[in-house]
């Protein structure tokens, strides 16, 4: 099937009422949690994952994807109106967006972020289609050693690009891989690390783990200090949502550049929406003719990053759909959703499940259109949502996690696991350990181990199999080079510290 007819069939899938409804639900919930600080797309997707069990995989995936890119639209609203990022990817939007609002230009700021998000979102879907198509062709020829190499390289970039200490990210990834080993070994049938708990025979369940690490722990972080009962919302009436011609002239460059930056950084494992918004901001500031305006309400500083973080969501789907490799923790949950629905993303997806593949892609066009309507004419609704205090919000978040978690298997054990990982996740945040590499390693662990053991069986135990096959060799060489630079970096940091003490 060529791209055009594929896309057309995809639109037919999305326009079925049930899929259309789930697409709308996804982008609506996405905008909602994007607007609300204190709950992110990762936690929300985990919470709503069980509610997709009853419907077709296509509808489920469409909804979960909608939550992700919908959150990027919603996040900017909070940044601009309250100066608090609704989403981590909207942190930079606070800089100029809030300043614009203070100057009475909240309307154009909101308008240009929605427009930019729409342009970046749609452009990146076009890029996504072509890249997935080409990459999947290549990946069809991958054997276990190639998969092993590519997964190692992907994990390494995730560790490399994770925020905070590199060595701590590495530790997190290793713990994730070890946690992935828990349960019955797929090849030998032996029980591993189940600690005598029969509920662990099938391994640690993804849903309680993610809900704990990203849902419960976020609540704990938010309530640890005295709750403010009311947020200060910028109370000027939001008007003139449509940016003027002058605004457009200044924004069109940042929007186009942001689309490209976002898309390509989205593809890179560990890159993603947050990084791309920062990169876009610094690029715009650097090439601007009037960099002194940045931070004082320059529309470029809103248009670029907001476009980039949306374009990154499209890019992130490339490795997931073409290789079955999740480049971020959000995509790891989506991968989990695919697996739960009995579908393996990867090169065979286009051939085996064309309706899921093209349906998802087409839904992103439709979803971006819905978001434009949700975020421009209906902006007043979200301003009201912003006034909901956290003391009302967090009991609801917790209730949703508990019900979602329990409803998967009707197991009390899952709730207890979730609370356990919630506490662990809270401690991780306190001690500055980033949970994203752990989740990704946890999802990839079983696949990584399978490809590793299959490769060794193929080669009769000869490790050279990883270095004589070109794709595997290049991927592993790059991974090793990155590790070497991590090691040197740690050494350098340690050295600086030592000299500091000596002085």
């Amino acid at each position: 099937m060529d791209i055009f007819s594929g896309l057309m069939s995809g639109f037919q899938v999305v326009l079925q009422p049930i899929n259309f409804l789930y697409c709308f639900t996804g982008v609506f919930v996405g905008t909602l949690i994007g607007v609300l600080p204190g709950i992110g797309p990762t936690g929300t997707m985990a919470i709503l994952l069980p509610s997709t069990f009853g419907v077709s995989p296509t509808a489920g995936i469409i909804m979960l994807a909608g939550i992700y890119y919908g959150a990027m639209y919603g996040g900017s609203t909070t940044s601009i109106l309250v100066n608090i990022p609704g989403e981590a990817a909207s942190v930079v939007t606070c800089l100029d967006g809030y300043q614009m609002a203070r100057k009475g230009r909240a309307g154009p700021a909101l308008g240009i972020s929605a427009m930019g998000s729409f342009i970046g979102g749609t452009l990146s879907i076009i890029g996504l289609m072509f890249f997935v198509y080409t990459l999947a062709e290549v990946a069809l020829r991958f054997g276990p050693p190639e998969y092993f190499g590519v997964m190692c390289l992907g994990m390494t970039t995730v560790i490399y690009l994770a925020k905070g200490s590199l060595i701590k990210s590495l530790v997190m990834a290793l713990i994730g891989l070890i946690m992935g080993c828990v349960g019955t070994d797929a090849i030998s049938g032996k029980l591993r690390f189940t600690l005598g708990i029969s509920d662990l025979w099938d391994g640690i369940d993804l849903i309680p783990l993610v809900m704990g690490l990203f849902g419960v722990s976020e609540v704990l972080i938010n309530i640890e200090k005295t709750l403010k009962t009311q947020r200060v919302v910028f109370e000027t009436r939001v008007k003139n949502l449509l940016p003027s011609l002058e605004d457009w002239k200044r924004s069109i460059g940042p929007i186009l550049r942001g689309s490209v930056i976002g898309f390509f950084l989205g593809i890179i494992p560990g890159g993603g929406a947050i990084t791309s918004s920062f990169v876009s901001y610094s690029v715009e500031k650097k090439i601007s003719k009037h960099p002194e305006e940045f931070g004082k309400g320059a529309i470029e500083g809103v248009a670029g990053p907001e476009t980039a973080n949306n374009a990154a969501t499209g890019g992130a789907f490339v490795p997931l759909l073409a290789l079955g490799f999740p480049p971020s923790s959000v995509m790891a949950i989506l991968l989990g959703a695919f697996i739960i629905h009995g579908i393996t993303p990867g090169p065979m997806l286009i051939i085996k499940n064309p309706d899921v593949f093209w349906g998802t892609i087409a839904s992103m066009y439709i979803g971006n259109g819905m978001l434009l309507i949700l975020n421009l004419p209906l902006i007043g609704l979200w301003v009201q949502v912003l006034k909901v205090p956290y003391s009302i919000l967090f009991p609801l978040i917790l209730l949703f996690t508990v019900i979602g978690c329990y409803s998967v298997d009707n197991r009390i054990f899952d709730i207890l696991m979730m609370v356990f990982f919630g506490i662990i996740g809270y401690l991780f945040t306190k001690f500055e350990y980033e949970p994203a590499p752990l989740i990704m390693a946890f999802i990839l662990g079983p696949m990584l181990e399978r490809s590793f053991r299959q490769s060794l069986i193929m080669s009769n135990g000869n490790l050279s199999i990883f270095f004589i096959r070109p794709i595997a060799a290049v991927a592993l060489a790059l991974a090793i080079a990155l590790y070497a630079s991590i090691a040197l970096g740690v050494f350098r940091k340690a050295r600086v510290k030592v000299t500091e003490i000596q002085e």
């Binding site: 070890i178 030998s188 032996k190 207890l416 135990g461």
Partner: protein, 152 residues
């Protein structure tokens, strides 16, 4: 961070060694026929090795100025009550049923942790129970336990 890095790195090191020993017992197999323990064994070793730089760094550096403790201004009461109320929920859910348990959970969260007024907490909890019942049980057909009173 120094003190905490020291503690966490020792925990990771211990965990890595424990995993390696456990994996060794699971049989490593050979390279040509890798056993169940091979991968976790390598991971356990890697974990204890890669936590050593954190340990060394925390031993070598001295905190120059006194940082504000990461625990300052923290309300431990809330921090303990939230997980405790969730565990409580898990414990009585199948006995008392969805409606009763959910109401109790929400009331505790709104009243004690959210510091809301009695009347507000009571009414909101009741309302949320009703709405969540309609959403999850009626609309999404999620099966929640009925409990001994047969409601929920």
């Amino acid at each position: 961070m120094k003190k905490y890095d020291l503690i966490t790195s020792i925990i990771w090191m211990g965990l890595g060694i424990t995993v390696a020993i456990g994996s060794y017992r699971l049989k490593l197999g050979s390279l040509g026929n890798p056993g169940a323990g091979l991968m976790p064994f390598l991971l356990g070793i890697s974990l204890s090795l890669s936590s050593s730089p954190i340990l060394i760094r925390s031993l070598m550096t001295k905190d120059k100025e006194r940082h504000e403790s990461i625990w300052s201004g923290i309300e431990f009461k809330k921090l303990i009550l939230v997980p405790a109320s969730l565990i409580g929920y898990a414990m009585i859910l199948e006995k008392a049923g969805f409606v009763v348990t959910t109401f109790l959970l929400l009331f505790v969260l709104f009243k004690i942790i959210g510091s809301r007024k009695w009347s507000f907490a009571l009414i909101t909890s009741a309302l949320v129970v009703l709405l969540s019942y309609l959403l999850f049980v009626t609309l999404l057909k999620v099966e929640m336990p009925l409990g001994i009173w047969g409601i929920g």
